[in-house]
């Protein structure tokens, strides 16, 4: 697969360079919301959704900035635009699909200024992806985040019954598991050529 192909960009963000386990983006929700599989799923869906919205926004805003030679304002614009776009979509969803809002709603404000979201926007700009490549990238990154979160939640649900030493605090234990997961995901390196 060529590195520019959509399939490779998707796979790369999904498994090989997983946002959470290889690039350490979005660790706060990863450690915070991975207690239950059900919650993890909903959170994952919300992240995919926000990622696509912000990827499209960042693509548009970057075009504008490049045209007017204002690249140094990129960071400020990205944050402001992503935050307001998510807010707007949130209001829209609340109005038209209350059921969907109940599933995703509580997570949306949590993830708007998450490093995974901003990281996605910055990486797609640095790598100069075109519009469809951006979509593949954001979809892959979101799916990868969801996969990591759900795996982690599954492990932690099992772990609640396990007998661990006293000194092992909650956070340290989660980090240890994350490290093992990350080790496993390194096995995907080289996938797709």
């Amino acid at each position: 697969m060529s590195p520019d192909s959509h399939a490779f960009i998707f796979l790369n963000a999904f498994l090989i360079n997983n946002f959470v386990l290889a690039m350490f983006l979005g660790l706060c929700p990863f450690l915070g919301v991975s207690g239950k599989v059900k919650t993890a799923w909903n959170m994952g869906l919300a992240v995919i959704f926000v990622m696509i919205v912000s990827s499209v926004c960042a693509f548009g805003i970057n075009h504008l900035l490049v045209r007017y030679n204002l690249e140094f304002l990129r960071l400020i614009c990205y944050i402001a635009v992503i935050a307001s776009a998510v807010q707007l979509v949130e209001m829209f969803v609340k109005k038209f699909s209350p059921a969907l809002f109940r599933t995703l709603g509580i997570f949306l404000p949590l993830i708007t200024t998450n490093c995974a979201i901003l990281g996605l926007a910055l990486f797609q700009t640095n790598r100069e992806y075109d519009f469809t490549q951006c979509l593949a990238f954001s979809l892959g990154a979101g799916a990868g985040f969801t996969l990591a979160l759900v795996l982690m939640a599954g492990l932690r649900e099992k772990l609640e019954l396990a007998d661990v030493p006293d000194t092992v605090t909650q956070a340290a234990l989660s980090l240890m598991i994350a490290g093992l997961l990350s080790l496993t995901f390194m096995g995907f390196a080289g996938l797709g050529g």
Binding site: F24, L27, C28, L122, G179, S182
Partner: protein, 216 residues
């Protein structure tokens, strides 16, 4: 974060030291973990990242504190983020000018300082309620604590992963580097290791204390 939100704190040594040990942003509060794990594969990167964060913390803390009576309450978070983003942009361009290699090594993580919760947390919970001097001292403490934590991880990972420290060879040619510590999983393991150590120390100390009171 444990301080009373209403009354402005008098300036004391604790204003400075709370960020270094008692409320260390990384080891105690587990904030801002993304850069902590992502750029600490060598001690040099860790130090650079720590100093960059320290600068942003200081400047944004002072500015937020100066503007605390001007910023309307409803839009304060947005204002803080804009202030932080401005300083991060300055740091980003400064590092690019000073050392292009370093800029390449840290990559997008310099820009991601914007979303580091330590900085926004300090702006919201401390700088917006205290005088400029207090905010400066507190931010300095937090920044130093953050940098120290990054160094702790960076030193361990560089020694184990590359067998060097600040790019100086430590062991002879026979040293077999423990490569996993230079790779992403090593970041998780190193931080987990430090947390184990601190939990162990805390537990030992608590046990010793309860024994003392028991005897008395």
């Amino acid at each position: 974060m444990a301080t009373d939100p209403r009354a402005p704190e008098p300036l004391s040594l604790a204003t400075f030291t709370q960020g270094i040990w008692k409320e260390n942003p990384v080891f105690v509060m587990l904030l801002g973990l993304c850069p902590v794990l992502a750029v600490t594969n060598t001690a040099t990167n860790a130090l650079a990242m720590g100093l960059a964060t320290l600068f942003v913390l200081l400047c944004s803390g002072v500015l937020v504190s100066l503007l605390r009576k001007v910023i309307p309450k409803q839009v304060r978070i947005a204002c803080y983020i804009i202030i932080i983003a401005t300083f991060v942009t300055i740091v980003d361009y400064a590092i690019q000018a000073i050392s292009l290699d370093l800029h390449r090594a840290l990559g997008a993580f310099i820009q991601l300082i914007v979303v580091n919760c330590v900085i926004l947390g300090r702006a919201e919970s401390y700088a917006s309620k205290n005088t400029v001097i207090n905010a400066f001292v507190n931010a300095l403490g937090m920044g130093v604590g953050f940098t120290l934590a990054l160094l702790c991880l960076g030193v361990v990972r560089e020694i184990l992963g590359f067998g060097t420290l600040f790019a100086i060879e430590l062991f002879g040619a026979s040293f077999q580097p423990w490569a996993v510590f230079a790779l992403p999983p090593g970041g998780f393991f190193a931080l987990a290791g430090w947390l184990f150590l601190f939990a162990y120390i805390r537990k030992r100390r608590a046990a010793a204390q309860s024994e003392e009171t028991h005897v008395a």
